[in-house]
């Protein structure tokens, strides 16, 4: 009798009903790996389209959106059954995107066409195409959903697009190859990472959405060539106190004080660390490590790596949901 009870308890514990999930896009493996964020075990892996990169979920957590770059569409999956749902038009070579809090409009960066495409997720229609700089990549959205910030890698600008009329209202030059744009939860600050410039530009955002550059994060790790400190993914805790910056081939995630803008620590993770996402409770931060084919789990409070989990080939992006 006793072993039976124990088994039941274990099954209940491992059941996905209570656990959150992380979805990892594997750029070269063309798959999505599903990781249980309680046990940190891989639950499954399924076909995610050709060259899946940007990955996000609908605000209600039921739909998974994947930029299938080589298919020139956004693929959609059910986050419970992993069944593929009808795709969304994205424009050519979608790389990264951002969804508005209502879940209606998806803003997609088209890397090959110097465009940001706006797609309605319900009607599955393209609402607008916004011409931006060369090689658009990073996509950030202000918490009030009034602004979308796109970064263009070869033009080296952050373009501030109004979600009201889809026109660019501000352009800010940043350092070489801007990759990612991240607002703080209160919307008063924006971080833009520059991969080749090796910096993160910090902007204060006024009430009316206008940006002012107030500083720049720089990085330095003893024994690592400065050329390899290449900021890519950026995430900020909801209280704004900590900024985590993935440093690409430096294989580290920088921990930055959101107040003083000082780098406090570097957390060693897997190889070629690319994108980041918090679990819903913000207890953990997950990094995708493209060259070691794994993700690293970082304990946010302790600011240390606690585990790495093998996923598919060349993990690129990550998004989490709570079940």
């Amino acid at each position: 009798m006793r072993p039976f009870v124990l088994a039941t308890a274990l099954v209940a514990f491992a059941s996905p009903v209570f656990a959150g999930k992380a979805f990892v896009s594997n750029e070269r493996g063309n798959t999505i790996t599903v990781v249980n964020t309680e046990t940190w075990e891989v639950e499954t892996e399924f076909f995610g389209g050709n060259r899946p990169r940007g990955i996000t979920v609908s605000p209600d957590g039921t739909k998974l959106y994947v930029c299938a770059s080589d298919d020139n569409i956004v693929r959609v999956f059910d986050t419970t059954t992993y069944e593929e749902l009808p795709s969304l038009p994205s424009g050519p070579d979608p790389e990264l995107f951002i969804i508005e809090p209502s879940g209606e409009r998806l803003y997609i960066a088209n890397e090959d066409d110097n465009l940001v495409t706006v797609t309605n997720t319900n009607t599955r229609q393209v609402l607008a195409e916004v011409p931006v700089g060369v090689e658009p990549e990073g996509m950030g959205m202000s918490p009030d959903a009034k602004w979308v910030v796109n970064t263009s890698e070869t033009t080296n600008m952050a373009h501030f697009i109004s979600t009201e009329d889809y026109s660019i209202k501000h352009n800010v030059l940043v350092d070489q190859r801007p990759r990612y744009a991240q607002y703080t939860a209160d919307g008063t600050r924006l971080y833009v990472s520059s991969e080749i410039g090796g910096t993160v530009t910090v902007m204060d955002i006024a009430e009316d959405g206008a940006p002012t550059v107030v500083g720049k994060l720089t990085f330095e790790v003893p024994g690592v060539l400065p050329e390899w400190l290449q900021p890519v993914g950026v995430k900020v805790t909801s209280d704004g106190s900590r900024v985590f910056v993935a440093l690409g081939p430096a294989n580290r995630v920088a921990v930055v004080d959101g107040e003083t803008l000082e780098v406090l620590d570097y957390i060693l993770v897997g190889q070629r660390v690319w994108q980041l996402d918090f679990t819903a409770d913000e207890k953990y931060l997950i990094s995708t490590n493209g060259n070691s084919n794994d993700i690293t789990v970082i304990d946010v409070e302790k600011e240390e790596a606690i585990k790495s989990v093998q996923v598919g080939q060349q993990p690129w992006g990550v998004v989490t949901i709570k079940d």
Binding site: D93, P131, D175, G197, T199, E227
Partner: protein
């Protein structure tokens, strides 16, 4: 730290939605076409738009950025013979253009540079690999986006040392360019501790090239030429004129890896390079030009992107303004090579990684791990500051 921040802030521009400074940027690509024999492989036949295609893409890229800044870019493309080159340059200068990318051999390049300098123009060398251009023959108005023989040879040498292939058999051609390239390999061996156990010259007798009988003759002649050499780890080929090294890899007497002008070749860029986000460059280039990119195209693109950066960041299209910005500490440019490229302020050479290419893939990228340098690992390749005899930038 405070100083650094202030400095950085000064190069950051806040750009409003309405263009503040309208600038029309006019540049030219001047390509001197020489009478040459067909290359060994028809894959290497020069496309008609060689170099110009890079300019077309650069204009497209710069104009996209320019649309947010009120800057407009236009690059004139001129091809000419060596005899008509001076007149072609004069026409470009008469047109008011002072930013000129030149694809020419060293001798013509120098003459054209000096002629252009009289009118205050800035010249970019997008082709000539000669060391003297970066050394005793350097010019203050001449920047180099092309690789030098020294950078290429050092890139190969570092890879060979990393592989522990330290004993080299150096085979070079008999033309002046081949001899110059061989010099660079001797220097590289010295610099990184390889040993040239033996040297051989494969004389250019003007034999058949890619005709039907070409490979039959080669199969008999080359192994015989290569036999009886001292023990060696690798064959280093210096064949800048491209008449025999392409055949070396499978026609040796002793089977060894071939590097240099055959086998593993150091290049600035190639159409299969995908790392560091280069796929996007390739798809843009392919779509615009309907062919794969060559190093010459990339060199021209790079030169015009340097101009674009100066215009975007320093608000100047004046040749001396571009030069000043390019040579300043503020200048940096992403070039799909994994790290920013910058200029050596002692001789105007752009410092950049070198791709080691086997005809299909990027096999490796130099500088190799472990080759250290007090300022930049990129300066382990080519003429470093203490070696340079260039005084034009002082």
């Amino acid at each position: 730290m405070k100083v650094a921040l202030t400095l950085l802030a000064s190069v950051l521009f806040f750009v409003g939605a309405s263009p503040a400074f309208a600038i029309d940027v006019r540049a030219a690509v001047l390509r001197v076409d020489y009478q040459t024999l067909l290359p060994l492989s028809r894959y290497d036949v020069r496309p008609d738009d060689l170099g110009f295609a890079g300019a077309a893409l650069a204009d497209q890229d710069n104009n996209t950025t320019g649309s947010f800044m009120g800057h407009n870019y236009e690059t004139v493309q001129v091809s000419t013979t060596p005899d008509d080159a001076d007149a072609a340059l004069d026409a470009i200068l008469a047109d008011g253009i002072r930013l000129i990318v030149v694809l020419a051999r060293a001798e013509d390049l120098l003459r054209l540079t000096d002629r252009a300098a009289e009118q205050g123009a800035l010249v970019f060398n997008a082709q000539a690999p000669d060391m003297a251009l970066r050394d005793t023959d350097c010019r203050a108005g001449l920047l180099h986006t092309s690789l030098s023989y020294g950078m290429k040879a050092d890139a190969v040498a570092q890879f060979a040392i990393w592989k522990k292939w330290t004993d080299w058999l150096l085979v070079h051609g008999s033309n002046p360019a081949d001899v110059a390239m061989a010099d660079a390999f001797r220097n590289a061996a010295n610099k990184f501790g390889a040993r040239i156990v033996e040297e051989r010259e494969f004389e250019d007798t003007g034999g058949s090239r890619r005709t039907d009988s070409g490979h039959v003759m080669v199969q008999k002649q080359l192994p015989v030429f290569m036999q009886g050499a001292k023990d060696h780890d690798a064959v280093i080929a210096a064949d800048a004129t491209n008449y025999f090294a392409g055949f070396l890899p499978y026609h040796l007497w002793t089977p060894r890896p071939v590097m240099g002008s055959g086998g593993l070749v150091p290049v600035n860029f190639h159409g299969a390079h995908e790392a560091y986000g280069a796929t996007q460059f390739q798809t843009r280039f392919d779509e615009l030009t309907r062919r794969y990119v060559r190093s010459e195209d990339f060199n021209v693109w790079l030169a015009l992107r340097v101009v674009g950066e100066a215009v975007t960041r320093a608000n100047t299209a004046d040749p001396m303004g571009v030069l000043d910005y390019a040579m300043s500490d503020a200048f940096e440019l992403a070039a799909f090579k994994g790290q920013k490229v910058t200029f050596r302020n002692w001789n105007g050479q752009i410092r950049q990684p070198v791709l080691l290419y086997d005809g299909m893939l990027t096999v490796s990228v130099s500088p190799q791990e472990g080759f250290l340098h007090q300022t930049s690992p990129l300066d382990t390749m080519g003429l470093d500051r203490p070696e340079s005899n260039c005084t034009a930038f002082n």
